[in-house]
């Protein structure tokens, strides 16, 4: 995909305002809350602190890209629903992208590894233990399967 960006546009702005991919949320816009996390070449990054021009030539994956074209949910998305991971849901997109980055690299993370992976993503509803359980359950679901 080719999009033009102003030199001072952040990736978050480009995704949300130009491409209308508003699944990526902006919370603090200072790189502290993690709500805007997307994957760049498979690694979680903060799109509010990343310039859009720096995304040129890289693979950018957002929450909208997770489910299959026919709408079938990704196992992480399923696990988030089944384990009551979203309360208000504002941090959910960022949490899911961090989970994807983690599980793609480490299919069997321990609880501690999950805790560390999501420690840059704030959930003011305090729902961390449901999110951790969801990521554990997603890891189980993804075992053996090929999920983008």
């Amino acid at each position: 995909m080719e999009v033009e960006a102003e030199p001072n546009n952040t990736l978050a702005e480009m995704l949300r305002e130009r491409l209308l991919l508003t699944g990526t949320k902006t919370g603090c816009e200072e790189g502290e809350c993690g709500a805007c996390t997307v994957l760049m070449n498979g690694r979680p990054i903060l799109s509010c602190l990343t310039l859009a021009v720096d995304a040129a030539g890289k693979d950018i994956e957002t929450v909208e890209g997770l489910s299959a074209p026919d709408g079938k949910l990704h196992p992480i998305q399923e696990a988030f629903i089944e384990n009551y991971a979203p309360q208000c849901g504002f941090c959910t997109s960022g949490m899911i992208m961090v989970a994807k980055g983690l599980l793609d690299e480490n299919p069997n993370p321990s609880v501690d590894e999950i805790r560390r992976a999501i420690s840059g993503n704030l959930c003011r509803c305090g729902n961390y233990q449901f999110i951790i359980k969801a990521i554990q359950s997603a890891a189980k679901k993804m075992k053996g399967g090929n999920h983008g």
Partner: protein, 772 residues
Amino acid sequence: MANVTNEFKVVGKSHPRMESADLVTGKAKFVNDMKAELYGKILRSPLPHAKIKSIDVSKALELEGVKAVITHKDVPNRLMPRANGRACLVLEDKVRFVGDEVAAVAATSRMVAEEALDLIKVEYEELKPVFHPRAAAREDAPKIYPEGNVYGPQYGALVEKGIQEPGIIEWGNVEEGFKSADVVVERSIESEPEIHAPIETHVCIAEWKDDELKIWISSQRPHEVHDAVTHVLDIPDNKVRVFTQHVGGGFGSKYVERYVPIAALLSKKAGGQSVKIVNTIEEELTHVKRGLSSITVKIGAKKDGTITALMLEAFCDIGGYGNPISGTCALGTLGIPNENYSAENGRFLAWDVHTNHFSTQAFRSVNIPSQCLAIEQAIDELAKKLNMDSIEFRMKNIPHTGDIIPKKPVIKGTSISQATLEYYPAKELLEDIADKIGWKEKRGKGFTRDGTKKRGVGIAYSAGWGMAFAVGETTMVVYINRDGTATVLTGTQDIGTGSNTAFRMIAAEELGLEFDEVSIKTGDTSFTPHDHGAIASRTLATGGILLIRAVQDAKDKIRAMVSKELGVNPENIEVIGKSAFDKNHPENKIVLSQFLESTIVGSATGSGFLIAKPGTKQRQAMVVAAEVEVDAETGEVKVIKMVTGGTCGRMINPEVVRGQYIGGAVQGIGEALFEKFVFDEKALAYKHKTFTDYKIPTSLDVPEIIAAPMEAKGKQRSDTLPYGAFGVGEMGNCLMVPAISDAIHDAIGVRVSECPFTPELILEALEGKKNE
């Protein structure tokens, strides 16, 4: 309560929030996901207390891209309600805290709007500020309002009284009570402000089309936003529509605020173009808070452990405009926590005091954490003096189902009276939570690890609310569609608590439908019935019982309609599972889809005042136990284990209920240990403006929390709560501070009287102990 023999079909079986699929796919829209034509920005005061001598906006107006500028000269001379609190104009010629609204700009981009703010010249006449509620309550304090800083207890919405008196609740004779005590303990505590800090910051969009105003807002109380805007802008009810989307957390912060009419006025000036105002994180962390509470408590008891007198005096900072629900209201209206213990004599005084800090607004459980910190510290100290285990001491004094509280008639304070406690198994709950933390094995037997790390366990108890809310009439509406499916209409807002899902479950239960056969419509004040909003843990309790009544209303209409056809009197007809039938001969039935030609509408209106049974009182008991590890070398406190529960009655959606208890616990741990409000009085600046400085808990800061709500036994139906279900939104948040304080004391033998319990305070306390 009448027993119902039927098993529940939908209620009591966990169901993920209905919004979950949209939230995990990114399809869920929040207000900031919507575009607007213009960006609004607010010029904020650099001074805590000043008169505006002059404002020059001419340079800002000249800037290309600026479409509107407003100052105090452009606002209607009509007072704006602040959630039942101190009313103020949309903008005034006076500022009352650093960050107070001075002027506002709408421009074609955020950058232009920000640039325009820099071009507005304001000349201030500085006034002496006052920051502490005890100082601000003195007669010689700088006056933030001409009538003084103490907000009168007898307030009503939009009414300024300015009475220099505290809110009061008094029964028996406390002086006599203390005289007859064998032991008396007095404790003073101070808990600092806490910031709500939803990750989705406050946001609204306003747009005029002809004479109709549309507002999209992230709010807990869309109808209250509607009411405030119609009032302050003097527009008829039917000309304002308030829309909501998903709300990214509220916790008491997302009520009515000035930025809403500001956006509306900017839009009007800009020819009706849509104007979006969204808080930056700095604005979010410095505009509303749980206020500072400075509390002294005195409790007397007999040798056998009977409490003879209980006295509490609280000074609560309500900030520049305030919201009295944080202070006096917590005692006066809600009657909590003066009812925690059955004392013969009691006096509770609370002063709501304006200061030159930003406003206080109800934050999940309001002031219970600080009041209970004071009370529970004193309770533990009393138990120690009496050589009793603190749980045994509490057991002697906690009221139980059927007890009349307070024990003697209320002699001062009009908002509470003696009444009989309905269902209140607090003692059973206390026992259960104590067992789950391992009280008997661990209390007083703390061990030391690695030389410096000391373990301890603590517990805290309080009464809480969660019943139908006293004020604020609400209407619930249900449509029985022609095919027998149903649609619920509600004007409240699901802010992540699962209320929409719970309402669908209740309607499905009542109508014998599947969950998917009931839908819910919300988020537009133009067609949803009026509702008091998602506050005070009232949504489920008030809305749920009214929804049950609304379904009954619809059923009654159907009964009357099919009576002739069935040849049965209406009272003998049941309407369930998309049919109406003779209760005694179920085979004599009518399938609704073959009978109904139009929608059948059922509705019910009420508030807690109308729902409650006279002479009875509903309370929900809460208990939290914590195990902590205190590093005596660094002062750091780590929560190792936490058990939290309440006598929540029925759980409509159990996993969601547990989520509320656990989430509240996480917030409470933040309040107790990390979340530090910092105001530099020399620089006149808040220093907690980012999440680096204002540290809310992360996944690494909290242990696995055990939620142990105690459900009512049996399949009961209640006239005043939906199947006996209390609201639990705030309950989990009440007692983390006192429970952690008690555990710290068990670990290192010191009681810290200031909250949050930062490493500095812990080390200071340890040093003090050494010097004793």
